[in-house]
Amino acid sequence: MRVLPNWKSGVRPRVGAPLRALLPILLLALATGCGVEYPQSTIDPRSDFAEIIHGLYVSIFWWTMLILAVVWIALSWTLVKFRARPDDPKPKQIRGHLGLEIGWTVGPALIVVAIAIPTIQAVFATQRPLEGDPIVVEVTGHRFWWEFHYPEQGVTTANELWLPVDRPVSLRLGSVDVIHSFWVPLLGGKRDVNPVRAVREGQDPRYNWLYFTPNEPGLYMGQCAEFCGESHAFMSMRVNVVTEGDFDAWVAGWFDSSGAAIPGDPGVIEGADPEAGTAVGPRDDEVESGMATAQAGDAADDDLVATGRDIFLNQAACGACHAITGTAAQGDIGPNLTLFGLRTSLAAGIMENTPENLAAWIIDPERFKPGVNMPGTGYNMESRIVAGSPFFWPATGLDDEQVRAVSAYLLSLR
């Protein structure tokens, strides 16, 4: 039923990191052979945050193995040595031994202290903003997708977070509906994305923060780790850690119309704050101006893209929910689709971003993600009443050809 992604994470396991491999050595080798990738492994750190956690985990792991060995050996030894034999006399009725009691109280207590001290150090070390010039991203959890807003860069994107390598990151986490949890295991531990509580005027709302510095470029997988309803399992994300140069280019591409197959009307670019404008502007003018500046290329493809753009902005009014920088589409209900063509996955990381998958998604999102707010074309589903909201999103009523055009338009945004 689902369209399977064949996308590869691009993150190669580092060879020869003995600590990471130690826990499951035997079972792993036995069960999986070599070369299996675990794109959401918690024991394969690629950031300072993940490394602190992993170091702690490894040391605790060995302590617990020590305790387990002591208990199991003592237990087995006792059971073998003192198993009942037919001619057993009545065993000596020993009721206790103070020295032993003290010993097995103090021994574990010392181990506990040995674990607790580095733990508490790590607690403090990982919960403060990092030195340097952190890049701030405001993460907003939605049922069932992720919104990423870069306040300094003025960029808003969805489901695929771009970060420059080796630069500290401060993620500000807030939810608009239920509790989610931001978790990209290779880059560190999770942190709950709590609904933002309303506060009195003059007070600041409280957010959770997550601080880390990714230290290796790659495309990392993550997903929501707090049960958030029907499609909780389909709320994934990607984090694209790139070089500083690539990152800057990506940000520039956000505003630079030259990269887009059909550039938007410069007049509606909201500059540093694309979130500000949500009103749907005069559509006909824009389409015309967009058409006027169309780049040269394959004429049929261009036509398709142009048709798709027209449908997106006008007929299907996708802009009521979605935003595309440089167009009249400025909705902030659904994911921002600017530079959509650059995304590797769609629908919050559950499918590879191909024309076929995208078309299937547009036709019937409910099929892939039950409980989603986005309406389908109406082929096989009713309009959905969004839970807790009085608004209807009517079916778009597009036919297959129109869907193909919209897909082509969206994929051209790169």
Binding site: T32, V36, L75, A116, T119, R197, F227, G229, A233
Partner: protein
Amino acid sequence: MSTATIDQAHAGHSTHDEPTGLWSWITTVDHKRIAIMYFITATFFFFVGGVEALIIRMQLWNPEQSLISPELYNQLFTMHGTTMVFLVAMPMAVAFFNYVVPLQIGARDVAFPRLNALSYWIFLFGGIYINLGWFIGQAPHASWVGYSTLTSSAYSPGLNTDFWFIGLSIIGIASIAGGVNFITTIVNMRAPGMKMMRMPLFTWMTFVTSFLLITAIPVIAVALIFLGFDRTFGSVFFEPAMGGDPVLWQHLFWIFGHPEVYILILPAFGVISDVIPTFSRKPLFGYPIVVYAGILIGFIGWGVWSHHMFTVGLGPIADSFFVAATMIIAIPTGVKIFNWIATMWGGSVQFTTAMLFSVGLLAVFTVGGLSGIMHASAPVNLQQHDSYFVVAHFHYVIVGGAMMGLWAGLYYWFPKVTGKFLDETLGKWHFWTTMVGFNLTFFPMHFSGLFGMPRRIYTYSAELNVDLYNQLSTVGAFIFGISALIMAWNIYRSARRGAPAGPNPWNAATLEWSIPSPPHHYNFPEIPVVRSREPLWNAGEREEVLAVTMPDPAEEPVMPVPSYWPILLAFAITLAWALVMTGIWWVIVLGIVPVFFCVLMWAFEPAFPEGH
């Protein structure tokens, strides 16, 4: 105390035991019958929760599979958790409290026999009620922890969550009543000479657990009331848009929820603390230490709730406090394990099925305890929380701890309850299939968790490469399911045709073994005097005790009269709570009327035959 003579035993008095028949069970106030009903009901729900688990495991067999719908999946895992905690592990422990505690302390019944019956019927009706949603396709679906705001009317608009919060509130009443009952029983109704520090460990752990019940349940009761008001009457406790705090729910839930973990595990610790000495033929090593460790676990258990909330963002100071408290609680738990091993050391260890389950508990519970230490470390917790690693951990603790202990208790006390042994061959099959199935189910979950599989997901991406671990788990789950069938068959068969067991088939030391199996409905013809922790192991004391406990009495003790008001009151309470679902205030108020009526009738009905 009075000294019964052997003459009395031969006085020719026939013991007219309780009448039989359905009505006699419905109106019974006998703690032993109530215990049996608790056990059977809990075992029934164990199979219900087990089938739910098996469907979950089938859905997770392959990545990106869609055997069932996500909504049904969510209902299944929600009800699996709710059922196993509230309708299986807790009531099964209560079944043992009921049967064993009065016998161990030399009492004829619990302090409040009718209240005891009420607890059972409320539990039964609440358990049925919370499952009613299945019949209209709206079973609870917001997970067993019911985190706000997922339970609000906005995100759970159907009746699903109504069944959940109302059902749990009903069951909570039963738990508080049970706690009050057992505290009173243990404090007030011990046989002469049965000092606190002579009580069998199972009674001790019942005592500690009862305190946890009466203190923890009110907290969740309040949380459920808040949730009910939010859903039904428009209050804003958990409404962020109005300044409400969803995290408050988590605090309240886990302030209850962590003591709840000890409510589940301490009874099992109590069982094996009685079983291990019996089958090692040695008294419990370090008795006072084991008692104090249990009390300490109960106390510290109150200060660790936020270790379930390390990802919530409480700040480093709160995190550090709860790290420290959580790690401290590992120490008394470890002490208990070492004391159990020391009890066996130097003994003559007989591997009966009860003993196998006790030893099995020591072996696998330790694994769960140690993985618990791992995520007690807050930073590590950030990687493991809400992943399958945690699922592995708490199943090792609750199944490998609580359930293993209770099954040990089943094999240990079954001869007392029925006068027949559970079949030992089938018992060993039960044990080994349990060990294989259980470990095969839950050990691979450590790996699926470490490799990033979150819990409560309907399906997982093929890219995670965790399908092998999931398939192992699924195979294990079915083996585990077979072990449960073996257990059920063993119980059924042995209850009918088991080998007869005498009063003290295991040569155990405590008072419950001083009376016939099964016991008379009045338990003790005369209350024995106790002079040590192991009355039946000490020459002299043993004869004295048996002299009063074994013979038929000259005159049968007067016992509480049966009553149908417990079941009627339980029904009225369930009905009153159910009417909250209507959301109409006058219907809700009207619903209280039958409750009030039943309370009155209960109050005016004499608990004992007239003239006594």
